[in-house]
């Protein structure tokens, strides 16, 4: 009895979550899922109690209810000349555009690095040079060179996402067995057919993983990108609210970014399970 319980407890559950294949838990809520929900509920309760006890003045620590009320108000009337959905879609548009660009360039450059030594020689130093630099550090440069328009904002987010996709694609391709490529060649595959029909599907799970990691960076870069000369966007909204000490809108903005990021992450996991069900089964 006690032994079977140990098998059911945390490790078994988290291993199941880690495997992205179709071997999902049957129940609607897994053990890990239940713990996660409980954690979120506990956090909100803690926040509520802290606000109720007035640990800090309401101006600095608004209650969950105040934030919820603000959500309705900003949704209906807006904040800084734009409604919440306008802010949200402005940001979402930037992140999605940057993500699409990063996937295209990341995959092309990742393949180029694997197929050509010259390409590797060109891409590697550039990538390793800019990758560790925080977006806030090169933001001024991007603005000086590309102005304060939409392009510069998307570019900054794009640069934040690109390394994840590129490195994941490159690493994914490196692990392919020579036999698999040789199998295709011995069946008469041309170089292009090897790339499109073997390497690309082989790398797909890695590309999607890189995209998921990159997406996190993308949202993290968003606020930096919207710091300068934006008129709409969640980052802009948070920055504006912080300037006037409207703490409830700051918290609201953070929660909306988190929610949007989680929805996109779950969507990508679904895509990964649908497009790459063989992952973890090789």
């Amino acid at each position: 009895m006690s032994e079977s319980r140990t098998l059911q407890s945390p490790w078994a559950g988290s291993l199941r979550v880690l495997s992205l294949g179709p071997r999902r838990a049957r129940g609607r809520f897994t053990y890990v899922g239940k713990v996660s929900v409980a954690t979120c509920v506990a956090m909100i309760l803690l926040w509520w109690i802290a606000a109720w006890l007035e640990v800090a003045p309401a101006m600095f620590l608004p209650s969950p209810l105040a934030v919820a009320a603000k959500f309705v108000a900003v949704w209906r009337d807006g904040f800084q000349d734009a409604t919440l959905s306008q802010h949200l879609f402005a940001s979402l548009g930037r992140v999605v555009a940057a993500l699409a660009g990063a996937i295209v360039f990341g995959v092309i450059l990742g393949f180029a690095m694997n197929l050509s030594e010259t390409a590797r020689g060109i891409v590697e130093p550039l990538l390793e040079f800019y990758r560790p630099i925080p977006p806030l550090a090169y933001l001024p440069l991007v603005i000086i060179w590309f102005g304060i328009g939409e392009f510069a904002k998307i570019l900054v987010i794009f640069l934040g996402i690109l390394p994840s996709v590129l490195i994941a694609t490159n690493d994914g391709l490196k692990s392919i067995s020579r036999d698999m490529v040789n199998a295709a060649r011995s069946l008469g595959a041309s170089r292009l057919q090897v790339v499109l029909l073997v390497l690309l599907p082989y790398a797909l799970p890695s590309i999607l993983t890189g995209t998921r990691i990159g997406l996190g960076t993308g949202w993290a870069t968003l606020v930096a990108a919207e710091l300068v000369a934006a008129t709409q966007g969640l980052g802009f909204m948070i920055k504006g609210a912080a300037d006037f000490l409207v703490t409830d809108v700051v918290i609201l903005g953070i929660l909306v970014i988190a929610a949007a990021a989680i929805v996109m992450e779950l969507g990508l996991r679904l895509v990964q399970r649908t497009l790459a069900p063989w992952q973890g089964h090789q």
Binding site: D179, A183, S186, W278, H281
Partner: protein, 265 residues
């Protein structure tokens, strides 16, 4: 019908470094049309290097590999390869793996599936068309590997220790299946193994190889595989005194060549 020939081939790895390894040293051999050539030897005797040469994955350091009289310049669908670990594509189901070669040639989906279904019947996998690769046992995977190579209709099948990873029972079934396919399709086969019993049973020509450097130390013509394809039971073939004597002779050859190589170290 086409002949695959290797003439005075030397293959050295790491030619620009200090540690040069001679994988094959002046090897010559011929695979006649319709023959079942088995390369037998311990690991490190250059069996896989030999296969890579024939497949066109590798160029010799010196000497020449020819197919149908023309030098082998690279891989081609005239020479099908079956890999030790299958090298199947996990993103494709069984039938699409088998039909992969036809897809490369631009054969329409309906036609290539029809062809693939016929080949799957030949290897005993009817009804498995829609299965995922990871749902198959080791033996079934190798059948898919054989079927994939056959679908491209090559003149010669190159098999790199295809039964090495299988359990003993599955292995014997697969030996019989491969001999069956060989007899039915009349293709030439080059088959690598380090199983002495398997080599003697299947070969129409057995090449005993020695390691460091890889050489062919003996070439023996055999007919036990023929006996099986002409209707004898595998167990009966292997129980003949003649089979047992041959097996022991080959075992002696393998061990003495290995001792020779170890003595040289």
């Amino acid at each position: 019908m086409t002949t695959l020939a290797i003439r005075d081939v030397i293959v050295r790895y790491g030619a620009d470094s200090d540690e040069t390894v001679t994988a094959l040293d002046r090897v010559s051999l011929t695979i006649e049309p319709g023959s079942f050539v088995v390369a037998l030897g311990a690991s490190g005797c250059g069996k896989t290097t030999l296969l890579n040469l024939m497949a066109g994955f590798l160029r010799p350091t010196s000497g020449v590999a020819t197919f149908d009289g023309r030098p082998i310049e690279g891989p081609s669908s005239e020479r099908g390869v079956v890999f030790q670990h299958g090298a199947l594509m996990p993103w494709l189901n069984v039938i699409d793996n088998v039909a992969f070669g036809l897809r490369l040639k631009g054969v329409p989906r309906r036609d290539r599936h029809q062809r693939a279904r016929g080949i799957l019947r030949l290897v005993g996998l009817e009804g498995m068309e829609e299965r995922r690769i990871w749902q198959l046992s080791g033996g079934m995977r190798q059948r898919v590997g054989v079927a994939r190579a056959l679908t491209a209709d090559p003149d010669v099948l190159l098999m790199d220790e295809p039964l090495g990873a299988l359990d003993a029972l599955t292995r014997e079934q697969m030996q019989e299946l491969i001999l069956d396919i060989w007899a039915r399709t009349k293709k030439s086969v080059f088959f690598i193994t380090h199983g002495i019993d398997e080599a003697v049973f299947m070969a129409s020509k057995l090449l005993v190889m020695s390691p460091r450097p890889g050489r062919v130390v003996a070439s023996i013509d055999l007919a036990f595989g023929r006996q099986f394809t002409e209707g004898a039971k595998a167990g009966e073939v292997k129980a003949q005194p003649e089979f047992i004597v041959t097996r022991e002779r080959v075992k002696q050859l393998v061990f003495s060549s290995r001792q020779l190589a170890e003595g040289a170290l």
